[in-house]
């Protein structure tokens, strides 16, 4: 492993020999409905991406995850030359959001990423009546908005956004990098594989990998069972993330 120190608080560590070719960086951190986490895990499994690094910080809980007898960092990076996927198996403490997104933005700039895409959910109170969740998009620049318009993506026109993905848009803006967020209508506090499937379909308009979500939908109930504990952790940190503001009306609404 070679360590890339991106500041004092969060360290992004890449495996030796990893090459990047202007990758699209896809971020799926735990948030409402675990949409990003479920989608990111599915993409990694489906595409057979290799683990290429991890993220560590004293701001994260002192927790490691064990898979097949090997301890691993819960925040890991997977991918190939063209696509990088960032995911987490633990909830992100609110105090770590700014240092984490700043470190991630520094790193995606360093690897010369052409676009950063965050996958997340948009809580829908009537989700139970929605057969196929819609996906809305937010861009951080005119260039990013053009990327969305080119793909006929529906925009989240007005409102507030909160959480790691919202800060990621800002941090990328500060570094003059294009970033977008894809938000699928979801259950706020229940894992939502249906929303994850919708967000992957939208993401694939950028990645063009032909990711089939059939298996994700078929295994939805199994995924919901496995995701219960992470959903519980994530829901507990939601008020501190100011997630409630996403339902509010901005005073400068147009």
């Amino acid at each position: 492993m070679t360590s890339t120190v991106m500041g004092e608080e969060v360290r992004i560590v890449e495996k030796e020999g990893v090459k990047h070719k202007n990758p699209i960086v896809v971020e799926g951190l735990p948030d409402v409905g675990l949409v990003g986490t479920i989608a990111a895990s599915y993409i990694v499994e489906r595409m057979g991406y290799k683990e290429i690094g991890y993220i560590e910080s004293d701001l994260f809980p002192p927790v490691m995850v064990v898979h097949e007898g090997e301890s691993k960092n819960p925040l890991r990076i997977y991918g190939d030359e063209g696509v990088v996927v960032v995911l987490s198996e633990v909830a992100i403490p609110v105090g770590a959001v700014y240092p984490l997104t700043e470190a991630l933005a520094d790193w995606v700039k360093e690897i010369d990423s052409k676009l950063v895409i965050s996958m997340t959910g948009l809580p829908a109170t009537n989700r139970i009546d929605i057969e196929k969740p819609e996906v809305f998009a937010v861009g951080n620049s005119e260039e990013a908005l053009n990327e969305l318009k080119d793909r006929q993506m529906e925009l989240l026109e007005e409102g507030f956004i909160a959480g790691p993905y919202a800060v990621m848009l800002r941090e990328c803006s500060k570094r003059k990098m294009s970033a977008i967020s894809l938000l699928a209508q979801c259950f706020p506090v229940y894992p939502d594989p249906g929303a994850a499937a919708s967000v992957i379909e939208s993401l694939d308009k950028f990645l063009k990998l032909g990711i089939d979500v059939k298996e994700l939908l078929e295994k939805g109930e199994e995924i919901k069972l496995k995701a219960r504990d992470l959903m519980r952790q994530t829901a507990l940190s939601a008020p501190k993330m100011q997630k409630g503001v996403e339902q509010d009306m901005p005073i400068m609404y147009r």
Partner: protein, 121 residues
């Protein structure tokens, strides 16, 4: 909460029951409780209410088996969800209604206290 409970904060039990995810919302005239019950069919859900509690027992259509996991280093299977919740206000158990769609159980519990119209003089 005892020390052991704080360290071993499981959402499953050795009797084959999992604790479901749930949400309790105060909706002015009623308490709305929802449960996420994957692998459950409507006919296998049992709901019991009192004035201040609600209990849900839901049998899964297929048991879920996990192996080599955490403190359980052997095969363990779960057949049902079970949860009892203490309600934030007294409700009228006779007027409780429920619906089940796409694995989400929704229970409407009308509050026991009555609303009185106050005229403005």
């Amino acid at each position: 909460m005892g020390i052991e409970r704080r360290i071993i904060r499981t959402t499953w039990r050795y009797d084959g029951c999992l604790e479901p995810l749930y949400e309790v919302e105060d909706k002015e005239d009623e308490i709305l409780v929802t449960f996420d019950l994957p692998r459950v069919r409507k006919e296998n859900v049992e709901i019991n209410t009192t004035e201040d509690t609600i209990e849900v027992i839901a049998r899964m259509s297929d048991a879920v088996c996990w192996e080599r996991w955490s403190g359980i280093q052997k095969r363990i299977s779960f057949q049902a969800f079970r949860k009892q919740i203490r309600l934030p206000e007294l409700v009228d158990p006779e007027k409780v209604s429920a619906s089940f769609k796409n694995g989400i159980l929704r229970i409407n519990l009308p509050k026991a206290r009555k609303k009185v119209f106050v005229p403005i003089e």
